[in-house]
Symmetry: C2
């Protein structure tokens, strides 16, 4: 099992990507193909002493920059590290891929090189919301901003398969992010998706209001990519705001400062728990390969977690299950996918 | 200046509504018409000793319950407290209205009794986001879940007038809630609204990503009612989550408990600052009257703040300014409204 790592992707690459690969090798025995500029990667590797067996360099001469137009850059820079890394999956040299680069570019490269799982109308980007021990998979968080109802139904199906296979959750609870609990609440899209999700064999638990998400009432939260992106970014912004207010408050008086010194380790731990980036990365669901995106600011620890997650996804049978759950929808639409999920359940039972 | 208070509206009515009215009278000299069941109101008033002059009771024999269908209840329960309170504005007996009842019912009653300001396509519900001293007005947060671009342009115009007149902000900064900074980012709706907002004479500062909102980069944040509702509820849910985690952490070890005891007043203050309900209530913008909605869980302090806000809105000239800014749009569309805003600016200059 080899994970391809886009060594040049992310704000802190290649320093943290290389360091993270070495940690993943040391702690979990993960073999990593570091894809990028060999000189830069070798320089980073040299900082850590002798490079262990199982850490390889694969040359890529170009990089997709954060301000490139993702789709264009992926098409134009054929030797970009993300393209070369995708090629490793495509030709079977690697089993999974991790990148902390531009998410849009990773999605574009995955679509270009790997394509979609047959039957998938639109791949989605998932994020693990940091509110429960296992996390809650929210999807889509930005790949599809104007969605058809059938796409969201598939997001529910893909998310359910992911949480079942990768996290071992039996019959994951699937909810629809909406502004009211009742079936009749929400915009046209959410009302239509509600009734279609009811027709599937998913463990659909209904609408979930945004303020109830942190209570962990679902394992998979379905939404369109615009709303999902807003929800994720509001979460990050509010957490940043509260912790910065907390820091100011704790620094405002002498006796607060003393109390704060006592609490610092606990607060730091709380803060890092609230970080989407700490949850091992976000899956691209519906592309034909195990592709995980890490946060753009991922440090070595986050890269290590992401590499572990990528290996877990590759070895989980998630992709095969996804094929089984979704392929018929290419013929029959959402209903076919629902029927397929049902028959899969029956086979298991 | 008299403010009509829906004494029966809200989870804690009439106990907290009556107590709040008395606080508003005592602290700010606000005259309040308590609209509701006279016996229940008198019983609450009696708890506080002699009722001061300027606190009047206006009888209403029905109540819109939180689980009523808002629009239906307002139509069927003609003697509902919210309807009777709206009538007081309509006939000139009161200058403004505050309710902590079902927001949908308040909007329905306002539309039924007061109607829209001429030129307004869709009234909106605003909320004051608790990230800056003055607050950031987000609208719409739920009155309109499927929006046309022209409605969002008007939300920007109405929000700008509100923040200028009620908060004294010169040329309020108007931003569009979106998932990227660039003009080309977002869904179809946001791309179209972006280009239309640029054509107005508003102080439009462009797209604002959700995680930047708490930094106070705008005074008015325009969005559709679905996304706005999600953003507000995510904020509440994340704040609840963090503070409950904080409580658990602080209770987990003895030396944390001691530090927590020192910090408690500061943390309590921080928590209440993060509460949308503490900001004096949310305006209904575009209805032809000064109508403010308080949080459903509003206590006496929140009712007091809401009554003060209602009086401020009524005395601010906000409604006249709104008429001036929006009436031409009934004839010429958004462009006309823009021209009207321009000519208003020129008149002032």
């Amino acid at each position: 099992m080899i994970v391809a790592l886009d060594a040049m992707g992310g704000d802190l690459a290649p320093t943290e990507t290389v360091a993270g690969a070495l940690l993943a090798k040391r702690d979990f025995g993960i073999d990593v193909a570091l894809v990028g500029a060999p000189a830069a990667i070798r320089q980073e590797l040299a900082k850590h002493g002798e490079t262990p067996a199982g850490i390889e360099i694969v040359e890529a001469t170009e990089v997709v920059e954060m301000d490139d137009s993702p789709a264009q850059a992926v098409r134009q820079k054929k030797q970009a590290s993300i393209n070369v890394a995708m090629d490793l999956i495509k030709d079977g040299s690697a089993d999974a891929l991790l990148s902390a680069g531009n998410t849009g570019a990773v999605m574009a490269a995955a679509l270009l090189k790997l394509g979609r799982v047959r039957g998938v109308e639109r791949p989605a980007i998932g994020a693990m919301a940091p509110f429960t021990d296992k996390g809650i998979l929210i999807l889509d968080i930005g790949a599809n901003v104007d969605c058809k109802p059938s796409w969201l139904v598939q997001f529910g199906q893909m998310g359910s398969v992911y949480m079942e296979k990768v996290f071992g959750i039996v019959q994951p609870r699937v909810g629809l992010l909406n502004i009211g609990e009742e079936e009749t609440k929400g915009n046209e899209l959410s009302q239509e998706v509600y009734s279609r999700l009811q027709e599937t064999s998913l463990n659909f638990v209904g609408n979930v209001e945004p303020d109830r998400v942190p209570q962990g009432v679902v394992d998979v939260l379905v939404t369109d990519g615009f709303t999902g992106n807003v929800a994720v970014k509001v979460t990050e912004g509010v957490a940043d705001f509260i912790f910065s207010q907390l820091r100011k408050t704790l620094a405002s008086r002498l006796h607060y400062k003393l109390a704060a010194a006592v609490l610092k380790p606990a607060l730091t731990q709380m803060r890092s728990k609230m970080d989407y980036g700490e949850y091992g990365g976000a899956p691209l669901l519906g592309v034909d390969g195990a592709v995980i995106v890490a946060h753009g600011r991922a440090n070595a620890q986050a890269i290590k977690s992401g590499l572990l997650r990528a290996r877990e996804v590759a070895s989980s049978g998630m992709l095969d299950a996804l094929r089984g759950a979704l392929e018929p929808s290419a013929r029959d639409g959402a209903k076919g996918a629902a029927a397929a999920t049902r028959s899969r359940d029956e086979t298991r039972a």
